[in-house]
């Protein structure tokens, strides 16, 4: 493979160039392999990529759709960064996200008749965060009290949460006026306000602020440092006098609460309702992005943006060019593999120069 050739460049410009190279090379490689696949399917890769770029990034409507898509992904990324930095494998994102979304969708249309709009949104967001956090309570308890592995418990809770969300939509929260089971719909004018004259809702701002705040929390505060110590070495954390079980609860609550906020923002900003069997399954997509950003809150914004471009551009392209959206999944998989590969080769090269 082609590892970055320039060894030992110390200048900051050189370092920046190397970083850009580390990010751009995998993208180019993934697009190249993807092009081969498109060719094999009998389509023209250049037309496809051009169309995706135009509809996902370069056209005003496209870029707005792309940025709107980033909001839930960024909130989930914020939640995952907290958990992963504290050494907790919160793989139950989808259940937390969906339950919070469903509760928001049921609550908001009722609340809006009782309180002013801004208060409705505020209450909905708080409740969604609490619902998300509540759904992580059992895994948190089992982890803190008995050390039960949270990969198992959060995965189980996510399957449970998806089922419960659907039951809630089909039974208590069902809107009787629709044929497909779904919750009552929040009117467009009651949803999160749009930014200026765009279709982008203000939830995107909340999400970006959340990611940045989480980054500052984890890297610049005593609380964040404590969580990172627990993540790096729980036994050392006990010896250092940290209350590990309380910190474990805090990590789960914060992580799942942020994910729950993401669910609320997606409902309040975009859909206004949740349909039965709706499950965007963002968790599986965001987990690798967070790893590739090395749990860094600023870097993850870039990865999420790139991914959102592929998603919204790819959907337009599937309608126009007949390349199914499934191709985007292949492209993301290739990108993840090449990013990890370049990262690995770079790591090995640096170790070799150190030795």
């Amino acid at each position: 493979m082609t590892a970055p050739a320039q060894g030992g460049v110390k200048s900051s410009a050189g370092a920046r160039l190397a970083t850009a190279f580390r990010v751009l090379l995998p993208i180019v490689l993934a697009l190249l392999v993807g092009a081969v696949i498109i060719l094999a399917l009998g389509k023209d890769p250049l037309t496809y990529y051009g169309y995706v770029a135009r509809r996902g990034l370069l056209s005003p409507i496209g870029i707005q759709a792309t940025i709107t898509r980033m909001a839930p992904l960024l909130m989930i990324a914020a939640g995952l960064i907290v958990a992963f930095r504290a050494g907790i494998w919160n793989l139950g994102v989808d259940g937390q996200f969906l339950l919070a979304a469903v509760v928001t969708a049921a609550l908001a249309p009722v609340l809006v008749t009782l309180v002013p709009g801004w208060l409705m949104i505020l209450i909905s967001l708080v409740v969604a965060a609490l619902v998300g956090a509540a759904w992580s309570l059992i895994p948190a308890f089992l982890k803190a009290r008995y050390g039960v592995n949270e990969i198992i418990t959060t995965l189980m809770m996510t399957f449970l949460g998806i089922g419960l969300a659907n039951v809630l939509i089909k039974l208590p929260f069902n809107d009787p006026n629709t044929t497909v089971p779904q919750t009552a719909t929040l009117a467009v004018e009651d949803r999160l306000p749009r930014l200026f004259d765009t279709t982008i809702h203000s939830g995107v701002v909340i999400a970006i602020v959340a990611v940045l705040l989480v980054h500052l929390l984890m890297t610049r505060t005593a609380f964040g440092l404590k969580l990172q110590i627990v993540g790096a070495n729980p036994r050392a954390a006990v010896h250092a006098g940290l209350n590990v079980s309380r910190l474990t609860f805090a990590t789960f609550a914060l992580s799942a609460g942020l994910v729950g906020l993401g669910g609320a923002i997606e409902v309040l900003g975009v859909w206004g309702t949740v349909r039965a069997d709706w499950n965007p399954a963002f968790g599986l997509l965001v987990v690798p992005l967070v790893f590739l950003a090395r749990l860094h809150g600023v870097a993850v914004i870039g990865f999420v943006l790139f991914f959102a471009v592929l998603m919204s551009g790819g959907e337009s392209a599937s309608r126009r060019l007949g390349v199914p959206t499934d191709f985007v999944l292949v492209l993301v998989a290739l990108l993840l593999i090449f990013l990890a590969l370049v990262e690995f080769l770079d790591h090995r090269r640096r170790q070799a120069t150190k030795a």
Binding site: D326, A333, A340
Partner: protein, 311 residues
């Protein structure tokens, strides 16, 4: 509800439980091998789905269900080979690569299916069964359990074969050492990379056969995204079983039964949302965990790449 628990209903329920449980059993057993050797194989969902696709395709083209299973094993191992190269030999992040392989398998199989069959979903013919003498005539569950495709019997035998392998052979010990203390295994002169690679490939083969069973026997056709989390359930089963294959069998039976109950209740005309029944096994296991929680045992080196000479 008169007539709900009739003989026919019970037989159909057990029959369905076996059909739904076998893919979970194979995935769970496969994942257990990887986990024992220290590889957290999140790519198992992708291996299963790819095995379902290749297994269906081979069975469809050759009209042979056995070649179909072979094709499923091959498809699963193909994905597993990538996992072994990236995560065992190069030591790259197992979670990132595992999820990437799952996403890639989802996209690729859907894409290939789209361009081969467009929007049609061709079906396979009926599957032959092998009735075991005498016991298949037992009323109620005889036909449901002992008049099945031979792969069902082989899968059950595999449970006990694996239990024996883990306990009584060097292969089992090597696997365990690769997950518990890879450096010690290396010092004993056994190749850690090779041990782990073989474990991952075995996982791929079993998950692929499980996927092929899901497509060829369970559904009789291939649908994009058809595994729908079955691989992850297998992962949960393997972790809950704490290294004992027999516990994977119990878990697969429990989950299989509840999946079958969903369809059986619908057939019986009971109007319960399917989601409620599908939640039952997860709720049950969570309840068991809360009541009987103990420290779960996982191999200490699980998820960590082995780098020779590094502490």
């Amino acid at each position: 509800m008169p007539g709900l628990f009739t003989v026919d209903f019970t037989t159909a329920l057990i029959f369905g439980a076996v059909t739904a449980g076998i893919p979970l059993l194979l995935a769970g057993l496969g994942e257990q091998i990887s986990e024992k050797a220290g590889v957290l194989n999140i790519g198992i969902e992708g291996m299963m789905l790819f095995g379902a696709y290749t297994g269906f395709l081979v069975a469809f083209k050759t009209d042979s269900i056995w070649l179909g299973f072979l094709g499923g094993a091959g498809g699963g191992m193909l994905v597993a080979l990538l996992m072994a190269i990236f995560c065992v030999w190069l030591g790259m992040n197992q979670i990132v690569i595992g999820i990437a392989l799952t996403l890639g398998a989802e996209g690729l199989t859907a894409l290939l299916h789209h361009f081969q069959f467009s929007r049609t979903y061709p079906r396979l013919g009926a599957i032959d069964s092998l009735p075991l003498p005498v016991i298949s005539d037992i009323p109620v569950f005889g036909r449901a359990l002992f008049d099945r495709h031979p792969l069902v019997y082989l899968s059950i035998l595999l449970v006990f074969a694996m239990a024996w392998l883990f306990r009584n052979t060097y292969v089992g010990l090597n696997l365990q050492a690769a997950g518990d203390k890879p450096a010690a295994l290396d010092a004993a002169g056994v190749d850690v990379y090779l041990t782990r690679s073989c474990a991952v490939l075995a996982t791929g083969a079993l998950a692929g056969i499980g996927g092929a069973y899901l497509a060829n026997v369970g559904a009789g056709l291939f649908l994009p995204f058809m595994t729908n989390g079955a691989g992850f359930i297998g992962l949960v089963l393997a972790m809950l079983a704490r290294g004992h294959p027999v516990w994977v069998l119990f878990g697969a039976a429990l989950f299989g039964a509840s999946l079958a109950l969903t369809t059986a209740l619908q057939v019986a005309g009971l109007n319960i949302p399917t989601d409620v029944v599908q939640m039952l096994p997860f709720a049950m296991v969570m309840l068991v965990l809360v009541i009987f929680a103990r420290h779960s045992y996982l191999p200490p080196a699980l998820g960590l790449p082995y780098v020779r000479g590094e502490r």
